[in-house]
Point group: C2
Chain length 312, copies 2
């Protein structure tokens, strides 16, 4: 194996390493190059329109993990040359106050993307809040309109994590048409939109989940295996068809004997890399792609809002 098959410019630059038997899918490097390209798009967009894309991130409450996520998002947004607006609200915030903020952000011409960090605390209704965001600014792609556009094969804003997985697959696998894809996990955030994207690419797609009887047998039929369950170490070597491409979306933090912690995925990497043809590591695989795709979606939203052009 000699590296990604695609001619996508994002995979020029340094080639992925080979470790064990499988080619390592370098999500971190890919995300860095994607972010650089977006930074260039931001500059060119400013030169054309004197407008800088702006992303508003809303955090309600004090969940420590969420605080880390939104800080990272804000930082990366800023680094890509975009405007980053943070709205950090106390957990006493009412649904009405939150909806009023979203209405102001919807109307604000300096804001092209709006993201409300989930989960929301207390009685705040995530469905109502997500769907209050103008679909053109819904850069997480989690609202009803963008989900419907994806389901119907229309252009729209696609959720960041599955979009990141798809970009990696297109770069490393090339043509996906006709391949057997198995997605383990049926969440609205990853599994379901991932299945839609793979279907759109012409894969034969199976969605497995908690009620699936023999997920291992199904997984072993997959040319492309996407694992997004949150169950660390679920998928061992005997779940993988030799040569398959494995995308591990899971991220769990485990505590080691020495008291330190480490991030691990849903796939037992050290086993799986001897069977898979290509595999994403954790960390450094899908994770970095999620934020890069958030920036990509914000750039897309700005383009559509300012230029009125739909990205196909």
């Amino acid at each position: 194996m000699t590296g990604p098959v695609s001619s996508d410019p994002h995979v020029s630059g340094p080639q992925p390493h080979v470790r064990g038997d499988a080619l390592l899918i370098d999500g971190k490097g890919f995300a860095n190059r994607l972010t650089q390209d977006i930074a260039e798009d931001v500059r060119a967009f400013y030169a054309r329109h004197q407008v800088t894309p702006g992303l508003a991130v809303v955090l309600v409450g004090n969940d420590p993990a969420s605080e880390v996520y939104v800080r990272n998002k804000a930082l990366q947004t800023h680094r890509a040359g975009m405007r980053s607006f943070m709205h950090m609200l106390p957990e006493t915030t009412s649904q009405e106050e939150l909806l009023a903020l979203i209405a102001r952000l919807n109307a604000d011409p300096e804001i092209h993307g709006i993201l409300v960090q989930l989960p929301l605390p207390g009685d705040l209704d995530p469905v109502a809040v997500t769907n209050a965001i103008d679909p053109r600014k819904d850069v997480d792609g989690l609202g009803v309109v963008n989900a419907g556009r994806l389901a119907l094969g229309l252009s729209g804003i696609v959720p960041c994590t599955p979009l990141g997985c798809l970009l990696l697959l297109k770069a490393y696998v090339g043509e996906l048409r006709g391949l057997n894809a198995v997605v383990i996990g049926a969440s609205n955030l990853v599994g379901r939109p991932m299945a839609q994207l793979l279907l759109r690419e012409g894969c034969t797609v199976t969605v497995a989940h908690i009620d699936t009887r023999d997920p291992q047998a199904l997984a072993r039929q997959a040319d492309i295996l996407v694992v997004a369950t949150g169950c660390r170490g679920l998928v061992g070597a005997d779940w993988i068809k030799p040569g398959a491409t494995v995308i591990d979306v899971g991220i769990s933090r485990i505590r080691l004997d020495n008291g330190k912690t480490r991030l691990v995925g849903d796939v037992v990497f050290d086993e799986a890399r001897h069977v898979a043809g290509q595999i994403t590591p954790v960390p450094g695989g899908v994770g970095p792609m999620t934020i890069a795709c958030l920036l990509r979606n914000t750039m897309q939203a700005a383009r559509e809002l300012v230029e009125g052009v739909e990205t196909p």
Copy 2:
């Protein structure tokens, strides 16, 4: 086999016949009982609100098949005690004229459901027209909002044909959770929403289509096989797992040697019935369920518009 396993009231009444080995799924009888139940709902709804549910059907142009469909829909609507409004427009109708009509129907409090018969002639844009319908009146469930609600597992209006298939499956199979379902055909009208519905019921769902490499091998793994390709006779006995439940959505008209015509499905019924556990015939299987579900959706839309209650 002794008939449907469900306690659904729609399958009380006469039991399905056994022909060959497979139990015949009596879509026609089920649809008749469903329509009778809806007629009762219509009367009770009128007694409560002095409102009769109204369905507007819009036909543009003179496609003979479409004319038959809309006449049938109007007739059945009327028979269920609803108001039926037909708008038959010449094929010279412009997009603006059609959108203006939809805007009037959206605003009309006597109209609870709007259906624009597809395909549309000429340059009329079916996506723009479908999405101009108020999602609460989109009784075909083909607009972006209802597709998104289905994809996200929220309540909404579900396309009639896959809804009809699901009602038959729930009545004849019972609990669907954990079953392997294979859907052949990935259209927005049937295959894709069918896959979403089966996923919602807890099936492990595979969508196969024109690019699938070995659809026969996939089909043979299915406990539930839904075939919606429009390729008559595609699925023979050797595509079916013994005892599986087979739902044949295809309807093609063939000309016989004696000059008469006959309707056939995508499944070779006379072979398949010796292998399947339960199977829908063509005609008399899925077909009658489609119109019955259109009435069901119109009743649901009227309820939500008048009572403001969401049907889960």
